[in-house]
Symmetry: D2
Subunit: 377 residues, 4 copies
């Protein structure tokens, strides 16, 4: 693991997600750019001191020299955005599989470069767009893909949070500080942090691609350097249209991602706050509540659940699904077997490239007087 | 009553709303442009045949000649949009108070003219933006106005319906036929029918006015002549921004109007599907469920409810609140008394003008390549 | 109308319910045992002074002497329980149809007597068990009756309120005072006031009859004279079992009546707080949300709704459904026609008798050391 | 781990729960009474073959002989009920801490004996009443304990499931087979399997103890040997009363545990289906939604959550909370430190004894003609 030291939210989440199903063991790390902090973190995690490194560069150098059956196999990178590309590049080039937190890189340029490196490396790559790990999100995608809803006409995706309603940065809120800092986050704040999740979900569930967008991007809290709020009109490659909302100044909201996709005959409605239910609505018959853990859901939803219906599975399980599917694919590759299609359903480098293109295009649109901006990769 | 014959949805609603609290008695009507149908309708409603008229022109002529204590006092106009202006004008000019269904007129031009007629007439005027009649919508407005949420930053309003998902017009669905017909509805379809409700609600609850908008307006169902779908980015006079969604092709949706208004410290969230609850969310404390019929709500919410908490009040009661408040104001005027502020809280001609301006501006924006269109009245 | 003067909750509700659909006109009344109050109330309701009476006895005497086409046709009795029997008896014997508030009488003995009087009178009788007027409650009954759920196994009905959590009686809370006073309410408090509603709903939806019960009846608030809380184990005539909860000391609850009926293959779940939704749950497929105003519900549910799906209908509409159906049956009788089966679906004297039997049996069981008490009428 | 081989639901849950926070490592096991199956299971879990045992007896014999720093420290027992006592006894007597699935033993007699063994052993003991591991259940308990709700008056707890609606036993549904078999489950079916959870939750949240009960216990599905349904009237040591429902034939229900506790001033309402919300209702002010992961909840709720508000934590996390708190207490003991009070809040042997007493008393009451049965331990 690279990054994820004290005060990092997502590092701990990655560790739980990885070990939840027992498919990974944490063996080495460079947890902070401060060697002392890295060592303290490694110790608290029970790692052997000789595998806690002062820098990610050293980690790669040393681990690559270990015998193949001892050295680390998969590198998790959980650093702020500006420190995604370089460790990911080195990991792939040293022959390790990579799990990388989103957004994939600091810029679209880096993303394209990383894609080409990954393609050449032959190593596997997983981008942690967590929400696609929820069983009922997978079910939504499958239902759309089945054609039962007819042609898709509308996609509404929204991700309201309230935690940046005040000027939180600059104090000891480490999360707020780096996420609002252009030198660490890149050109986008909320649009990069949560807008990319919403965008990814929209494309994942609908099976469509955005072709044009029209964005209203705002800095609401005085003194903030990056956008903390935005709304985007969307057009998709099949002619459908939609709306994407991402805001971190919606006072009182927790983490209320929601997606609705409407077809000719019916629609799906998934809300993070009730993550184990998929509302399926129809033109002429009762709304149905499809649930995690039941016998009637698709093989994708079944594969990504661990308990019978009525035992809520949450954020950590969704995250763990990414790790588990990635592990199953790595194992299959190692054993020369073809991975099941359900295992391969995790976000990868292509989603990362599109996410970075979203950031570039949405920020450009925000600054443009023209209504529609073409979505260019 | 003018309009509201057989097959008309909203006419029956107006009648129930008017009589629910016993403040009105239906005494005369011109229910259809077809005299036979008008008479049949009048008969079925138990009206005296001599007060069922063949046309609204005749109604005004005849009623105006009746002795003051016999003739009608308030005219309800529930015709399609193209037949709003003329009967409303005549009603005011003949000295009757007017209840008019929304959108107010066929065009903004007519709306401005009607406003000037109404101002000169000294008669009272009520526009039936039903949703502002809900106790918890009134509570939302009061809470925003109280300043407890701080400055308003975001307004999200959405009104998804699914009933026009197919090509319904042209058959015997009278509702679908006139609402999608430019010669009866005007320049807008969904934006006029439900977009104006959403717009009105946004301004009513937030206490703000839209100054700019950016619209994506669509005809989704093949062969339809007016928009059946749209999404609009909004900017308000205090610097807040927002999103308005109005669609009638959201398969599986019923009548799911929802408004969320976010301030610096908290927010309100009202959904038509759970109309007696107002969710009040705060930055640092639990979300609260404010309820119709309780003792802790404002005088506005209390005045507009009839039963103790837990006895659901619905659409007809909300509609009846408009009629009841209008009656209370008329009665106060007749008795030379000052109406209470709670009674005066019904939508009037100013809301009608802004609604018509919304239609004009939103359709113009939909056709424009520029991102932002100024909201002009 | 008899009763329903100032301070009476249910009188006003009856008046709105009766006039909501325009099928009734209030023509006369004896609104209070205090003649002055009665006259003041009549005046405020716009009644002709000569038809506002000082007592119900006088009302019957005078109205019976009016010409048939002038005199009142239906008597609504909305007095406290101890004043139900006598005016109901007189109304029937004077040839009027009767709408009577529940519980039907002061004692089971009176109920049996009233039944025999009603049978002989040939007049129609409606008992206002409001909750059976909700479209989705009717749908629940129809679904059970259709056999689609299989044999019924379990019935859970609960009616928690919180408004008697404190000692409210004795002050100016008129509702609390008479409802907790044995001389006005009878042998039961909560069990009579809301327990009878729950019991009626259980039998109405399940189509079953209670044969045995086991009650825990409590006076929770110190100084109170009648039960304010209770729970009852139930056994039904088909072998099903169930639980009935009725309490008025559940602090924080409004009026949260709920019924769940489970069959071999599925179940129905209706909650007053979400009255326009019927949850239909199945063993092996998704839960369905059946909704008021849709096209797929039964003729009973359709007949008892006024607006399209998504326009919430509430307590007053449910109440109005009782009045409307009663009016339709009276009209059919007057015209010598057979009423439709949907119209006849209103609670009548038989439900009243069973309600009074419930009160007698449940209070007896509460005092008994034996587990099971037979349900005797 | 003892038990938890192929086809066992709860064994896998225990393993995930234990490793979720990285505090446990699975080192040895006797997973099945069939040695071959045990070895296969151990292999699939990646255990060293020399620590996969043919029987639990052998496990204790062998592990006890390993050096202290190599041998297992905590024994998880996840066998059917009839195989709880003996391995638990042996584990304690061999000096191991014990995690035991509920209900604690086959009979109350065994439970009392085990308590005395545990007391003498000085080893720690955890009984996996999972639901007390939810942050919002802990919050409910804390809120009741704070006195803010006033004296507790009512406790309603219900646990409806539908999975035994048909005769599932005898086929290859291993879960159904042993849970309905008196020789493996003991004298109770549903009352032992889920009734004990409901009972435990009632006492845990209310802080009260049941003193009397009156049970209706049923076998609904023909041919079944143990109760699959029941309802129980409860009396508590402070004079409060309540209702407990536990059924496994509620067709369409998943795992819908719910508890409501009412005090003089307010109440708490927790539902498993919305596990991260605690509804707190008050007599005179809005209902509040208290949420996992927020800053305003108690130290107990905060300690038992891993992510910020809005990231749902579910069943596995609740289960993991038990394991984590148990680990923290063991570690504190090993280090001679006093465990924090939040760590000590896990169900222990006392809850196990009361659970077994509940089974004995509730089954006795079910057979009794007397209304009330004293709760005897």
């Amino acid at each position: 693991m690279i990054g994820g030291g004290k005060g990092a939210f997502i590092g701990a989440v990655h560790r739980i997600a990885a070990q939840l199903d027992g498919a990974y063991e944490l063996v080495c790390g460079a947890f902070s750019s401060n060697p002392e902090k890295s060592r303290a973190c490694g110790a608290s995690l029970g790692l052997s001191p000789d595998r806690v490194y002062d820098s990610y560069q050293e980690l790669f150098r040393q681990e690559a020299q270990l015998p193949e059956d001892e050295r680390v196999q998969v590198i998790s990178i959980v650093t702020p955005n500006h420190l995604h590309f370089e460790p990911a590049r080195m990991a792939l080039e040293h022959g390790f599989h990579v799990v990388l937190d989103k957004p994939m890189t600091f810029s679209l340029q880096e993303a394209l470069e990383l894609r080409s490196i990954a393609d050449q490396s032959g190593r596997l790559f997983c981008l942690t767009h967590t929400y696609t790990g929820y069983p009922m999100v997978k079910e939504a995608r499958q239902l759309v893909a089945s054609g039962k809803l007819g042609n898709i006409r509308k996609v509404y995706v929204e991700y309201p949070q309230g935690w940046l309603s005040r000027f939180e940065e600059g104090g000891d809120n480490k999360q707020a500080s780096w996420r609002t800092d252009p030198s660490q986050s890149g050109i986008a704040g909320s649009m990069g942090d949560i807008g990319t999740h919403a965008f990814n979900l929209a494309e994942y569930v609908s099976g469509l691609q955005v072709t044009q967008l029209c964005a209203d991007i705002n800095i609401v809290v005085k003194g903030r350097k990056l956008d903390d709020d935005g709304a985007v009109l969307l057009r998709f490659d099949n002619g459908a249209s939609g709306v994407l909302i991402a805001t971190q100044v919606a006072a009182g909201e927790e983490n209320n991602l929601r997606i609705r996709v409407y077809g000719e005959h019916g629609s799906v409605d998934w809300q993070h706050a009730d993550a184990n239910t998929l509302q399926v609505k129809w033109l002429d018959r009762p709304t149905e509540l499809w649930r995690t853990g039941t016998g009637y859901v698709s093989s994708y939803a079944q594969h990504n659940a661990r308990t019978p219906a009525g035992h809520p599975e949450g954020y950590l399980e969704a995250f763990a699904n990414l790790y588990r599917n990635f592990a199953l694919c790595i194992k299959a590759e190692m054993e020369g077997e073809k991975p099941q299609k359900e295992w391969q359903d995790y976000p990868s480098i292509e989603e990362g490239v599109r996410g970075m293109a979203f950031i570039k295009n949405v920020i450009a649109s925000g600054k443009s007087d023209k209504k529609w901006t073409d979505f260019k990769v």
